[in-house]
Protein backbone atom coordinates (compact mmCIF):
# COMPACT_ATOMS: atom_id res chain seq x y z
CA UNK A 1 0.00 0.00 0.00
CA UNK A 2 1.31 3.38 -0.86
CA UNK A 3 -0.40 5.66 1.60
CA UNK A 4 2.22 4.83 4.19
CA UNK A 5 5.03 6.09 2.01
CA UNK A 6 3.16 9.12 0.90
CA UNK A 7 2.06 10.17 4.37
CA UNK A 8 5.52 9.43 5.61
CA UNK A 9 6.96 11.74 2.98
CA UNK A 10 4.62 14.47 4.12
CA UNK A 11 5.77 14.09 7.69
CA UNK A 12 9.34 14.20 6.60
CA UNK A 13 8.92 17.44 4.77
CA UNK A 14 7.06 18.90 7.70
CA UNK A 15 9.70 17.83 10.16
CA UNK A 16 12.70 18.96 8.26
CA UNK A 17 11.65 22.25 6.77
CA UNK A 18 8.64 23.96 8.29
CA UNK A 19 9.16 22.91 11.85
CA UNK A 20 12.81 23.61 11.99
CA UNK A 21 12.38 27.20 11.02
CA UNK A 22 9.26 27.61 13.08
CA UNK A 23 10.12 26.17 16.43
CA UNK A 24 13.82 25.62 16.66
CA UNK A 25 15.17 28.36 18.85
CA UNK A 26 18.66 27.17 18.17
CA UNK A 27 20.37 25.56 15.22
CA UNK A 28 19.88 21.83 15.30
CA UNK A 29 22.36 19.42 13.82
CA UNK A 30 20.70 17.78 10.88
CA UNK A 31 21.09 14.19 9.90
CA UNK A 32 22.47 13.88 6.41
CA UNK A 33 19.61 14.00 3.94
CA UNK A 34 17.92 12.00 2.65
CA UNK A 35 16.94 10.29 5.84
CA UNK A 36 16.73 6.54 5.54
CA UNK A 37 15.15 4.42 8.25
CA UNK A 38 18.21 2.21 8.47
CA UNK A 39 20.40 5.23 9.08
CA UNK A 40 18.32 6.25 12.06
CA UNK A 41 19.48 5.50 15.56
CA UNK A 42 17.07 2.60 15.72
CA UNK A 43 17.99 1.26 12.28
CA UNK A 44 21.67 1.29 13.15
CA UNK A 45 20.96 -0.38 16.38
CA UNK A 46 19.06 -3.17 14.71
CA UNK A 47 22.02 -3.61 12.36
CA UNK A 48 24.36 -3.75 15.28
CA UNK A 49 22.17 -6.24 17.09
CA UNK A 50 21.76 -8.55 14.11
CA UNK A 51 25.45 -8.49 13.26
CA UNK A 52 26.29 -8.97 16.92
CA UNK A 53 24.09 -12.05 17.12
CA UNK A 54 25.81 -13.45 14.01
CA UNK A 55 29.12 -12.87 15.73
CA UNK A 56 27.85 -14.66 18.78
CA UNK A 57 26.87 -17.64 16.63
CA UNK A 58 30.34 -17.66 15.10
CA UNK A 59 31.91 -17.60 18.52
CA UNK A 60 29.77 -20.49 19.72
CA UNK A 61 30.91 -22.56 16.76
CA UNK A 62 34.49 -21.41 17.19
CA UNK A 63 34.50 -22.28 20.83
CA UNK A 64 33.08 -25.71 20.15
CA UNK A 65 35.72 -26.22 17.50
CA UNK A 66 38.48 -25.18 19.88
CA UNK A 67 37.47 -27.92 22.27
CA UNK A 68 38.82 -30.45 19.76
CA UNK A 69 42.13 -29.53 21.30
CA UNK A 70 41.36 -31.90 24.13
CA UNK A 71 40.97 -34.77 21.70
CA UNK A 72 44.58 -34.37 20.62
CA UNK A 73 46.54 -33.10 17.67
CA UNK A 74 44.93 -35.42 15.08
CA UNK A 75 41.39 -34.54 15.90
CA UNK A 76 42.02 -30.81 16.03
CA UNK A 77 43.95 -30.72 12.80
CA UNK A 78 41.44 -32.95 11.07
CA UNK A 79 38.72 -30.65 12.17
CA UNK A 80 40.61 -27.66 10.78
CA UNK A 81 41.32 -29.52 7.57
CA UNK A 82 37.70 -30.66 7.41
CA UNK A 83 36.56 -27.07 7.48
CA UNK A 84 38.78 -26.36 4.51
CA UNK A 85 37.94 -29.38 2.44
CA UNK A 86 34.19 -29.21 3.07
CA UNK A 87 32.23 -30.15 -0.07
CA UNK A 88 35.31 -31.10 -2.06
CA UNK A 89 35.61 -31.95 -4.82
CA UNK A 90 32.20 -30.50 -5.68
CA UNK A 91 33.17 -27.15 -4.28
CA UNK A 92 36.56 -25.49 -4.49
CA UNK A 93 38.98 -25.77 -1.58
CA UNK A 94 38.15 -23.61 1.44
CA UNK A 95 34.69 -22.64 0.09
CA UNK A 96 32.89 -23.12 3.38
CA UNK A 97 35.67 -21.31 5.13
CA UNK A 98 35.41 -18.37 2.75
CA UNK A 99 31.65 -18.20 2.92
CA UNK A 100 32.02 -18.07 6.66
CA UNK A 101 34.81 -15.58 6.44
CA UNK A 102 32.90 -13.29 4.10
CA UNK A 103 29.87 -13.47 6.35
CA UNK A 104 32.09 -12.77 9.29
CA UNK A 105 33.82 -9.85 7.63
CA UNK A 106 30.46 -8.39 6.63
CA UNK A 107 29.08 -8.80 10.14
CA UNK A 108 32.17 -7.28 11.68
CA UNK A 109 32.05 -4.39 9.22
CA UNK A 110 28.38 -3.68 9.87
CA UNK A 111 28.90 -4.09 13.57
CA UNK A 112 31.84 -1.77 13.77
CA UNK A 113 30.46 0.87 11.43
CA UNK A 114 27.14 1.08 13.24
CA UNK A 115 28.91 1.04 16.57
CA UNK A 116 31.16 3.90 15.54
CA UNK A 117 28.33 5.99 14.09
CA UNK A 118 26.14 5.46 17.13
CA UNK A 119 28.95 6.16 19.52
CA UNK A 120 29.72 9.40 17.74
CA UNK A 121 26.10 10.44 17.83
CA UNK A 122 25.93 9.57 21.48
CA UNK A 123 28.96 11.70 22.17
CA UNK A 124 27.40 14.64 20.36
CA UNK A 125 24.13 14.06 22.15
CA UNK A 126 25.89 14.14 25.47
CA UNK A 127 28.71 16.62 25.07
CA UNK A 128 29.00 17.74 28.68
CA UNK A 129 29.63 15.51 31.65
CA UNK A 130 28.03 15.96 35.03
CA UNK A 131 30.27 17.38 37.68
CA UNK A 132 29.14 14.83 40.20
CA UNK A 133 29.06 11.11 39.74
CA UNK A 134 25.98 9.19 40.59
CA UNK A 135 25.38 5.61 41.46
CA UNK A 136 24.24 3.69 38.37
CA UNK A 137 20.70 2.46 38.78
CA UNK A 138 19.76 1.20 35.36
CA UNK A 139 19.28 -2.25 33.87
CA UNK A 140 22.87 -2.63 32.77
CA UNK A 141 24.92 -0.83 35.33
CA UNK A 142 28.25 -0.51 33.63
CA UNK A 143 27.23 -1.23 30.09
CA UNK A 144 28.50 2.00 28.59
CA UNK A 145 32.03 1.66 29.84
CA UNK A 146 32.28 -2.09 29.33
CA UNK A 147 30.72 -2.03 25.88
CA UNK A 148 32.82 0.71 24.35
CA UNK A 149 36.15 0.14 26.11
CA UNK A 150 35.61 -3.57 25.88
CA UNK A 151 35.06 -3.29 22.15
CA UNK A 152 38.44 -1.64 21.72
CA UNK A 153 40.11 -4.42 23.65
CA UNK A 154 38.31 -6.96 21.46
CA UNK A 155 39.44 -5.25 18.27
CA UNK A 156 43.05 -5.27 19.45
CA UNK A 157 42.70 -8.84 20.49
CA UNK A 158 41.27 -10.00 17.18
CA UNK A 159 44.07 -8.25 15.32
CA UNK A 160 46.67 -10.03 17.41
CA UNK A 161 44.73 -13.27 17.28
CA UNK A 162 44.63 -13.30 13.48
CA UNK A 163 48.35 -12.63 13.27
CA UNK A 164 48.91 -15.27 15.87
CA UNK A 165 46.73 -18.19 14.88
CA UNK A 166 45.47 -17.55 11.37
CA UNK A 167 48.43 -15.98 9.59
CA UNK A 168 50.95 -17.16 12.18
CA UNK A 169 52.98 -13.99 11.74
CA UNK A 170 53.72 -13.91 15.42
CA UNK A 171 53.40 -17.61 16.08
CA UNK A 172 56.44 -19.90 16.32
CA UNK A 173 54.58 -22.67 14.45
CA UNK A 174 54.37 -21.59 10.86
CA UNK A 175 52.90 -24.85 9.51
CA UNK A 176 49.42 -23.81 8.47
CA UNK A 177 48.20 -27.38 8.78
CA UNK A 178 49.17 -27.66 12.39
CA UNK A 179 46.57 -25.64 14.24
CA UNK A 180 47.09 -27.80 17.30
CA UNK A 181 50.77 -27.08 17.44
CA UNK A 182 50.17 -23.37 16.98
CA UNK A 183 47.73 -23.27 19.84
CA UNK A 184 50.03 -25.17 22.15
CA UNK A 185 52.93 -22.95 21.13
CA UNK A 186 51.15 -19.69 21.65
CA UNK A 187 50.08 -20.52 25.18
CA UNK A 188 53.44 -21.90 26.17
CA UNK A 189 54.08 -20.91 29.82
CA UNK A 190 57.15 -19.07 28.57
CA UNK A 191 54.86 -16.74 26.61
CA UNK A 192 52.64 -16.02 29.63
CA UNK A 193 51.95 -12.39 28.64
CA UNK A 194 50.16 -13.69 25.55
CA UNK A 195 48.01 -15.95 27.67
CA UNK A 196 47.24 -13.14 30.05
CA UNK A 197 46.26 -10.92 27.15
CA UNK A 198 43.96 -13.63 25.81
CA UNK A 199 42.33 -14.04 29.19
CA UNK A 200 41.87 -10.29 29.60
CA UNK A 201 40.32 -10.08 26.18
CA UNK A 202 37.98 -12.88 27.10
CA UNK A 203 36.85 -11.01 30.18
CA UNK A 204 36.18 -7.95 28.03
CA UNK A 205 34.26 -10.15 25.62
CA UNK A 206 32.25 -11.58 28.48
CA UNK A 207 31.14 -8.16 29.61
CA UNK A 208 30.43 -7.16 26.03
CA UNK A 209 28.16 -10.12 25.60
CA UNK A 210 26.51 -9.96 28.97
CA UNK A 211 24.89 -6.68 27.91
CA UNK A 212 25.13 -7.22 24.17
CA UNK A 213 23.02 -10.33 23.84
CA UNK A 214 19.99 -9.19 25.82
CA UNK A 215 20.32 -5.74 24.37
CA UNK A 216 20.17 -7.20 20.88
CA UNK A 217 17.11 -9.24 21.81
CA UNK A 218 15.41 -6.18 23.33
CA UNK A 219 16.13 -4.27 20.16
CA UNK A 220 15.02 -6.92 17.74
CA UNK A 221 12.22 -8.61 19.61
CA UNK A 222 11.24 -5.93 22.11
CA UNK A 223 10.41 -8.15 25.03
CA UNK A 224 8.25 -7.02 27.90
CA UNK A 225 9.42 -6.76 31.46
CA UNK A 226 9.04 -10.44 32.27
CA UNK A 227 10.89 -11.59 29.20
CA UNK A 228 13.57 -9.03 29.76
CA UNK A 229 14.56 -10.64 33.03
CA UNK A 230 14.77 -13.99 31.23
CA UNK A 231 16.83 -12.73 28.31
CA UNK A 232 19.14 -11.06 30.76
CA UNK A 233 19.69 -14.37 32.54
CA UNK A 234 20.21 -16.22 29.28
CA UNK A 235 22.57 -13.53 28.10
CA UNK A 236 24.68 -13.82 31.21
CA UNK A 237 24.74 -17.60 30.92
CA UNK A 238 25.84 -17.54 27.28
CA UNK A 239 28.54 -15.00 28.09
CA UNK A 240 29.88 -17.09 30.96
CA UNK A 241 29.79 -20.33 28.95
CA UNK A 242 31.57 -18.73 26.03
CA UNK A 243 34.25 -17.18 28.17
CA UNK A 244 34.75 -20.39 30.10
CA UNK A 245 34.77 -22.50 26.94
CA UNK A 246 37.42 -20.30 25.38
CA UNK A 247 39.48 -19.78 28.50
CA UNK A 248 39.81 -23.45 29.23
CA UNK A 249 42.09 -23.92 26.21
CA UNK A 250 44.90 -21.49 27.13
CA UNK A 251 44.58 -22.52 30.77
CA UNK A 252 44.87 -26.18 29.88
CA UNK A 253 47.97 -25.50 27.82
CA UNK A 254 49.53 -23.31 30.48
CA UNK A 255 48.98 -25.93 33.15
CA UNK A 256 50.23 -28.70 30.94
CA UNK A 257 46.97 -30.58 30.45
CA UNK A 258 47.48 -30.24 26.73
CA UNK A 259 50.93 -30.25 25.21
Amino acid sequence: MNWTREAYRVYRVAVSTELQSRTAAHPVKRARAPWKPWRSTIGLKVAMGVSGILLVLFLVAHMAGNLHVFEGRESMNDYAAGLRSFGEPLLPHESLLWVMRLGLIAAVAVHIVSAVVLTRRAMQARPVRYASKKPAKGESRHAVATMRWGAIVIVLFVAWHLMDLTWRTVNPVKDLHDAYGAVVATFDPERWPVTVFYLLALVALGFHLRHGIWSAVQTIAGPNTRWRKRTQAVSLAVAVLLVAGFAIVPLAVTFGLVS
Partner: protein
Protein backbone atom coordinates in the same frame (compact mmCIF):
# COMPACT_ATOMS: atom_id res chain seq x y z
CA UNK B 1 19.67 22.27 58.46
CA UNK B 2 22.88 23.66 57.06
CA UNK B 3 23.94 22.75 53.55
CA UNK B 4 26.82 23.40 51.20
CA UNK B 5 25.57 23.70 47.67
CA UNK B 6 27.44 23.76 44.41
CA UNK B 7 25.21 25.12 41.66
CA UNK B 8 25.80 25.43 37.94
CA UNK B 9 25.72 29.13 37.08
CA UNK B 10 25.67 30.23 33.47
CA UNK B 11 24.42 33.71 32.58
CA UNK B 12 23.18 32.76 29.11
CA UNK B 13 23.46 30.21 26.36
CA UNK B 14 26.67 31.64 24.93
CA UNK B 15 28.68 32.19 28.06
CA UNK B 16 30.68 29.49 29.75
CA UNK B 17 29.28 28.33 33.05
CA UNK B 18 30.79 26.94 36.21
CA UNK B 19 29.87 25.31 39.49
CA UNK B 20 29.56 27.99 42.17
CA UNK B 21 29.58 27.17 45.90
CA UNK B 22 26.88 28.52 48.24
CA UNK B 23 26.25 27.99 51.93
CA UNK B 24 22.71 27.95 53.19
CA UNK B 25 21.55 27.69 56.78
CA UNK B 26 18.24 27.17 58.52
CA UNK B 27 16.70 24.98 55.84
CA UNK B 28 13.54 23.31 57.07
CA UNK B 29 13.23 19.55 56.74
CA UNK B 30 9.68 20.09 55.51
CA UNK B 31 10.70 22.31 52.64
CA UNK B 32 10.74 20.90 49.15
CA UNK B 33 13.94 21.05 47.18
CA UNK B 34 12.64 23.95 45.13
CA UNK B 35 11.54 25.80 48.24
CA UNK B 36 15.08 25.43 49.52
CA UNK B 37 16.24 27.12 46.32
CA UNK B 38 13.55 29.81 46.79
CA UNK B 39 15.06 30.60 50.17
CA UNK B 40 18.55 30.73 48.68
CA UNK B 41 17.29 33.08 45.98
CA UNK B 42 15.71 35.40 48.52
CA UNK B 43 19.13 35.67 50.17
CA UNK B 44 20.88 36.24 46.86
CA UNK B 45 18.47 39.00 45.84
CA UNK B 46 18.87 40.73 49.19
CA UNK B 47 22.60 40.73 48.57
CA UNK B 48 21.98 42.21 45.13
CA UNK B 49 23.09 39.06 43.35
CA UNK B 50 21.37 37.34 40.47
CA UNK B 51 19.10 34.57 41.76
CA UNK B 52 19.47 31.04 40.41
CA UNK B 53 17.15 30.46 37.47
CA UNK B 54 15.34 27.11 37.34
CA UNK B 55 12.24 25.82 35.61
CA UNK B 56 9.19 24.92 37.65
CA UNK B 57 5.46 25.46 37.62
CA UNK B 58 2.97 23.06 39.18
CA UNK B 59 5.23 21.96 42.04
CA UNK B 60 3.22 18.83 42.43
CA UNK B 61 4.94 16.45 40.08
CA UNK B 62 2.72 16.63 37.04
CA UNK B 63 3.67 19.48 34.70
CA UNK B 64 7.18 18.20 34.02
CA UNK B 65 8.75 21.64 34.21
CA UNK B 66 11.19 21.09 37.06
CA UNK B 67 14.47 19.64 35.96
CA UNK B 68 17.50 19.44 38.18
CA UNK B 69 20.31 16.97 38.32
CA UNK B 70 21.00 16.60 42.02
CA UNK B 71 24.24 14.88 42.96
CA UNK B 72 24.42 13.46 39.48
CA UNK B 73 20.89 12.09 39.53
CA UNK B 74 18.08 13.48 37.42
CA UNK B 75 15.34 14.60 39.86
CA UNK B 76 17.52 13.62 42.79
CA UNK B 77 17.95 10.51 44.90
CA UNK B 78 14.33 9.52 45.58
CA UNK B 79 12.83 7.04 43.13
CA UNK B 80 9.69 7.95 41.19
CA UNK B 81 9.83 11.54 42.43
CA UNK B 82 10.16 14.84 40.60
CA UNK B 83 12.46 17.51 41.99
CA UNK B 84 9.49 19.58 43.13
CA UNK B 85 8.19 16.62 45.16
CA UNK B 86 11.58 15.86 46.68
CA UNK B 87 11.76 17.11 50.25
CA UNK B 88 14.75 18.19 52.26
CA UNK B 89 14.23 15.49 54.87
CA UNK B 90 15.87 13.19 52.32
CA UNK B 91 19.09 15.04 53.08
CA UNK B 92 21.00 15.51 56.30
CA UNK B 93 22.44 18.46 58.11
CA UNK B 94 25.86 19.36 56.73
CA UNK B 95 25.39 17.64 53.37
CA UNK B 96 27.03 19.01 50.27
CA UNK B 97 24.75 18.91 47.26
CA UNK B 98 25.64 19.42 43.60
CA UNK B 99 22.93 20.92 41.41
CA UNK B 100 23.27 20.86 37.63
CA UNK B 101 21.01 21.33 34.64
CA UNK B 102 19.88 18.53 32.35
CA UNK B 103 22.84 17.80 30.11
CA UNK B 104 22.16 16.84 26.53
CA UNK B 105 23.10 18.16 23.14
CA UNK B 106 19.44 18.44 22.25
CA UNK B 107 18.71 20.42 25.44
CA UNK B 108 20.98 23.47 25.30
CA UNK B 109 21.29 25.45 28.51
CA UNK B 110 19.42 28.77 28.41
CA UNK B 111 20.49 30.05 31.78
CA UNK B 112 21.76 28.45 35.00
CA UNK B 113 19.59 25.39 35.46
CA UNK B 114 17.09 26.18 32.70
CA UNK B 115 17.38 24.22 29.46
CA UNK B 116 15.53 24.30 26.16
CA UNK B 117 13.41 21.17 25.76
CA UNK B 118 11.55 22.27 22.65
CA UNK B 119 13.03 19.26 20.85
CA UNK B 120 10.40 17.17 22.63
CA UNK B 121 7.64 19.26 21.08
CA UNK B 122 9.19 18.75 17.67
CA UNK B 123 9.09 15.00 18.18
CA UNK B 124 5.38 15.20 18.96
CA UNK B 125 4.80 17.46 15.95
CA UNK B 126 6.28 14.77 13.76
CA UNK B 127 3.46 12.35 14.48
CA UNK B 128 2.77 12.06 18.20
CA UNK B 129 -0.96 12.49 17.81
CA UNK B 130 -4.08 10.97 16.36
CA UNK B 131 -5.62 12.96 13.54
CA UNK B 132 -9.13 13.56 14.82
CA UNK B 133 -10.29 17.03 13.84
CA UNK B 134 -12.78 18.54 16.23
CA UNK B 135 -16.33 17.45 15.67
CA UNK B 136 -15.61 14.37 13.59
CA UNK B 137 -15.65 11.86 16.43
CA UNK B 138 -18.06 8.94 16.65
CA UNK B 139 -19.73 8.14 19.96
CA UNK B 140 -17.19 7.37 22.65
CA UNK B 141 -18.64 3.89 23.07
CA UNK B 142 -18.37 3.07 19.37
CA UNK B 143 -15.14 1.16 19.95
CA UNK B 144 -14.70 -0.62 23.28
CA UNK B 145 -11.11 -0.94 24.45
CA UNK B 146 -10.13 -3.89 26.64
CA UNK B 147 -9.30 -2.66 30.11
CA UNK B 148 -5.81 -4.18 29.96
CA UNK B 149 -5.03 -2.19 26.82
CA UNK B 150 -6.52 0.96 28.25
CA UNK B 151 -4.46 0.54 31.41
CA UNK B 152 -1.28 -0.17 29.49
CA UNK B 153 -1.92 2.85 27.29
CA UNK B 154 -2.42 4.94 30.39
CA UNK B 155 0.83 3.74 31.94
CA UNK B 156 2.69 4.98 28.89
CA UNK B 157 0.63 8.15 28.62
CA UNK B 158 1.60 9.11 32.18
CA UNK B 159 4.88 10.58 30.86
CA UNK B 160 5.16 14.21 31.93
CA UNK B 161 7.70 15.19 29.28
CA UNK B 162 10.25 16.28 31.85
CA UNK B 163 13.31 15.04 30.03
CA UNK B 164 14.90 13.26 32.97
CA UNK B 165 15.27 10.22 30.75
CA UNK B 166 17.47 12.19 28.37
CA UNK B 167 19.40 13.72 31.22
CA UNK B 168 20.10 10.32 32.73
CA UNK B 169 20.86 8.46 29.52
CA UNK B 170 24.60 8.21 28.87
CA UNK B 171 23.81 8.48 25.15
CA UNK B 172 21.58 11.54 25.55
CA UNK B 173 18.82 9.55 23.94
CA UNK B 174 15.18 10.63 23.90
CA UNK B 175 13.97 7.10 23.32
CA UNK B 176 11.98 6.63 26.51
CA UNK B 177 10.00 9.81 26.01
CA UNK B 178 9.32 9.05 22.37
CA UNK B 179 8.58 5.40 23.04
CA UNK B 180 6.07 6.30 25.76
CA UNK B 181 4.05 8.28 23.24
CA UNK B 182 4.38 5.67 20.50
CA UNK B 183 3.25 3.00 22.95
CA UNK B 184 0.36 5.06 24.28
CA UNK B 185 -1.11 5.78 20.89
CA UNK B 186 -0.22 2.37 19.48
CA UNK B 187 -2.17 0.66 22.24
CA UNK B 188 -5.44 2.36 21.36
CA UNK B 189 -7.60 1.32 18.40
CA UNK B 190 -7.82 4.96 17.38
CA UNK B 191 -4.06 5.09 17.01
CA UNK B 192 -3.78 2.25 14.49
CA UNK B 193 -4.25 3.98 11.11
CA UNK B 194 -1.28 6.27 11.67
CA UNK B 195 0.82 3.81 13.60
CA UNK B 196 3.50 3.32 10.96
CA UNK B 197 3.84 6.84 9.70
CA UNK B 198 3.86 8.04 13.29
CA UNK B 199 6.83 6.01 14.35
CA UNK B 200 8.88 6.84 11.26
CA UNK B 201 8.18 10.54 11.56
CA UNK B 202 8.90 10.66 15.26
CA UNK B 203 12.16 8.74 15.01
CA UNK B 204 13.28 11.05 12.21
CA UNK B 205 12.51 14.09 14.34
CA UNK B 206 14.19 12.52 17.34
CA UNK B 207 17.42 11.92 15.44
CA UNK B 208 17.30 15.27 13.77
CA UNK B 209 16.95 17.05 17.07
CA UNK B 210 20.33 15.63 18.03
CA UNK B 211 19.36 12.95 20.53
CA UNK B 212 21.57 9.89 20.68
CA UNK B 213 20.58 6.30 20.06
CA UNK B 214 19.47 3.90 22.73
CA UNK B 215 21.77 1.07 23.73
CA UNK B 216 19.42 -0.28 26.38
CA UNK B 217 21.32 1.04 29.35
CA UNK B 218 18.13 1.62 31.30
CA UNK B 219 19.19 4.68 33.29
CA UNK B 220 16.26 6.53 31.73
CA UNK B 221 13.67 4.30 33.25
CA UNK B 222 15.40 4.34 36.61
CA UNK B 223 15.33 8.16 36.64
CA UNK B 224 11.81 8.52 35.26
CA UNK B 225 9.53 10.06 37.86
CA UNK B 226 6.56 8.29 36.33
CA UNK B 227 8.31 4.92 36.19
CA UNK B 228 7.84 4.44 32.46
CA UNK B 229 9.23 0.98 31.77
CA UNK B 230 11.80 -0.08 29.19
CA UNK B 231 9.21 -2.26 27.51
CA UNK B 232 7.92 0.84 25.71
CA UNK B 233 11.29 1.08 23.98
CA UNK B 234 10.89 -2.52 22.90
CA UNK B 235 7.49 -1.65 21.43
CA UNK B 236 8.94 1.35 19.67
CA UNK B 237 11.69 -0.74 18.10
CA UNK B 238 9.19 -3.28 16.91
CA UNK B 239 6.83 -0.70 15.45
CA UNK B 240 9.75 1.00 13.81
CA UNK B 241 11.07 -2.18 12.27
CA UNK B 242 7.70 -3.05 10.79
CA UNK B 243 7.15 0.44 9.48
CA UNK B 244 10.63 0.75 8.04
CA UNK B 245 10.31 -2.51 6.16
CA UNK B 246 6.99 -1.42 4.75
CA UNK B 247 8.20 2.00 3.79
CA UNK B 248 11.32 0.62 2.11
Amino acid sequence: MKLSLRIWRQPDADTKGEMVPYEIDGVSEDASFLEMLDVLNEHLISEGKDPVAFDHDCREGICGACSLVIDGQAHGPQAATTTCQLHMRKFSDGDSIDIEPWRAGAFPVIKDLVVDRSAFDRIIQAGGYISAPTGTAPDAHAVPIPKQDADAAFNAAACIGCGACVAACPNGSGMLFMAAKVAHLGLTPQGQPERQTRVLGMVAAHDEAGFGGCTNVGECSAACPKEIGLDVIGRLNKDFRKAAIRAA
